[in-house]
Symmetry: C2
Subunit: 246 residues, 2 copies
Amino acid sequence: MAIASAALPECSDCPIRHRAVCARCEPEELDALSRIKFYKTYAAGQTIAIRGEPLETVASIVKGTATLTRSIEDGRTQLVGLLLPSDFIGRPGRSEAQYDVTAVTELTLCCFHRRPFEELLEDMPHVRERLLEMALDELDAARDWMLLLGRKTARERISSLLALIVKRSIRPDGGILGDKGRVELPITRETMANYLGLTIETVSRQLTKLRKDGIIQLEGKRTILIPDFGALLAETGDDDDGGMIF
Amino acid sequence: MAIASAALPECSDCPIRHRAVCARCEPEELDALSRIKFYKTYAAGQTIAIRGEPLETVASIVKGTATLTRSIEDGRTQLVGLLLPSDFIGRPGRSEAQYDVTAVTELTLCCFHRRPFEELLEDMPHVRERLLEMALDELDAARDWMLLLGRKTARERISSLLALIVKRSIRPDGGILGDKGRVELPITRETMANYLGLTIETVSRQLTKLRKDGIIQLEGKRTILIPDFGALLAETGDDDDGGMIF
DNA sequence: CGGAAACTTGATAAGGCTCAATGAGTGTGG
DNA sequence: CCACACTCATTGAGCCTTATCAAGTTTCCG
């Protein structure tokens, strides 16, 4: 399934050290985790897990992007989570995947076999605590998305997604976007459509409209310029605020 | 805010003793919780919390139903959670409500002031464990709902909701429904609409269609008869299975 | 350069929304 | 006890947003 097993870098050098489940670990806890961890790499487009099939590992995303999807046999697909570095895959106490998990870019995971991980968990209050915190954050995100899926117009959905991507683009080092308001889209139109509960045609048309209205500029297919972030936020339908959390 | 403070019954007699956050508590943990708990009662329709306002209590629902909603100023409202007995309100480590919480029936809560609860939490592994489990279950439920909101037709949404209500009606004592396939709807058409991301007119029309198609029978406004549960499930758009989870 | 994948654009149709009127159930007060 | 008001629900007519179907176009990449 995995393309290759990478060498094992030290946790102290890990790019997600301060955000993943292990964020608040003491050195000895980190040691214990380190002893049972292993890395896996996936190519863009590869399947990581399939709903209903056994999944005996849990993992943190170290690098890359993955999606969590739910679908119906007739092809309708809904993206239920966008997984970025530091996000956690799998659930302690469950041996079957609840969602389809797919790599959308090249992906590196820091994996643990489920059983040993669960056993270690008993003695690692900091991991449990962080896991709870992350689950609650994801729950909040899922519920915000429910508002979008249930009540927002196509234009508001697109704007919300772009705003979200912008906010996440800023995060990594706290610095502002590479260029003034230039954002790289990490996902295809189809993935956007599946995230937003729309068709790719509607996504495309709404992007065009936002461009014609001067809210955004398109530079090639995957790069977007946002001259006025406030103007974009005004299109999201949100009671602003949510502005800059974190 | 609360109508009245009820007497304090013993935890051992509590109807949600085996499902709430305290489900796996040892007697001494239960004692500790018991010492800081207090009950509150709300009338149907009363507001329990407002998004963005301070919320310094957490609570378990003992009796009744409440809703979690997110909305936009222009009135659009999305229900993001349906809270039933044993469900938990509030989040450790957060002092502001993230959602509007409203009682839809008369409601009894088992409350704790947030700070003391958080402190007790440090020494109660069983509560933390259960809290994580419940959060992950809610996350799964929210994600299933995202599929419904993003991709299902009105008819499928209504059917899914009815199926969900039926499943929950069975749960309490493990016994089958009161009468052969007779289910009481705990919510109004408006609440259903806000849950399903539809208007009340569409909810009403689809219920009528399901009735004309013989999938359900309506008995007054709030009671539904389901002669063939399998037939209802076939209308939900789900790959069946999900059959009887809980 | 050729081919495939990703994206855009157009024409048309349909599902669900909006607006509006009507009906059923419930509680209140004369 | 009936009339009235009020809430909740149903039904209808017309419209609008988004989906569907069908070409084109651009980009990527061997």
